[in-house]
Symmetry: none
Subunit: 211 residues, 2 copies
């Protein structure tokens, strides 16, 4: 018997899912709540499920924060995200939080069931588009320099790396044997090319592999 709980704020979707799971002979849905808070208020050690189907956009705490809390309290629990979000930030935040599955909404119930069984059996399931983003993460992370041409010149790139290292303009000047005014000019050009207005933005783009 697979025990599954649901955290989904849309009541129509929530009830439909619960009815579907309860119609399976070997799956039982014990709880279906509209928020992480409401769910946590009812959850006890003796009723921890095998799998949780979790939305991300919820009233109050987000599903991702919910994953963190639930995984910290019950590390063996399997949580499947079910959401409309395609954006990489949500995907990777979910994975980093400990999600074992990531489904995009509008999947047929049969496939959701398949994902639940897969996760219950120790595997993971990602919707194909999600899987593609995850795989691209590995590939593009490896080939950022080759794939996406940086608009910065060699000296500008050098200055960016120095900024990332936390060096001040004066430090960069000393290190590169150029004047502080030259560093300032390079930084002006960098900001212009990247369409940013602060070194924080430059550092983030660099560390995220965007330049």
């Amino acid at each position: 018997m697979i025990f599954i709980d649901i955290i989904e704020d849309d009541p129509v979707v929530r009830e439909a899912l619960k009815d579907f799971f309860d119609s399976r002979e070997d799956i039982h849905c014990s709880a279906a709540k509209e928020s992480v808070e409401a769910y946590l208020a009812t959850l006890k050690v003796e009723n921890v499920p095998d799998v949780i189907l979790m939305d991300i956009g919820l009233p109050g705490m987000s599903g991702i924060s919910g994953v963190k809390i639930l995984k910290s309290r019950y590390p063996e629990i399997n949580i499947i995200m079910q959401t409309v979000y395609h954006d990489s930030q949500k995907i990777f935040q979910s994975l980093c939080a400990g999600a074992s599955g990531y489904l995009l909404k509008n999947m047929p119930f049969k496939e959701i069931e398949n994902a639940v069984r897969t996760v219950y059996e120790g595997g993971s399931f990602m919707s194909p588009q999600i899987a593609r983003k995850v795989m691209d993460f590995f590939y593009k992370g490896k080939n950022v320099a080759a794939s996406k041409q940086s608009p910065l010149s060699g000296k500008e790139t050098e200055v960016v790396h120095a900024l990332v290292d936390g060096l001040s303009y004066k430090d960069i000047a000393d290190k590169s044997f150029i004047s502080v005014e030259t560093v300032r000019s390079h930084i002006k050009n960098i900001y212009k090319k990247l369409h940013v207005h602060s070194k924080a933005e430059v550092i983030r783009k660099s560390l995220n592999g965007e330049i």
Copy 2:
């Protein structure tokens, strides 16, 4: 029509796969070779397939090396690894090389077909055990950082995220409905706790998962 090629050293498996794909009305297998070298010798721009099903353990060049060569020459090509290997190194080497799918051997042909269609349509497919390893990579990678407990309080963490987003002290104050002086105090505390002296260092620590 989906064009697929096969690189598999076991002749029995290779022929069986080719026969299966050719039995599909809308899939055509143009080439089935026993090694990357043999395959590359016949491959021309005009017969580049949509998808390649690639073993990893091959005579001569490994499938992973083959992925690198093929992706560098034909970046849009989709390559699905099909192998017995469960070990993480092979998995991540394949992903970093640019594979779009990773199947474990002994999958039913029907599911292999499903994976081929998924990849052809722009998604990715991983066998559930592989997907689990990939997701664990993200979670456990995060846990290395999480095991090193962040010394920052909730508000301090909020300020760090705002810094990473490129916000100025004034912006942070406005967004959090606190005064600029409060933001300054938080930042002083953050620098003290993290033993740094610039926001650049804070941002780098944050993006590298060190806090």
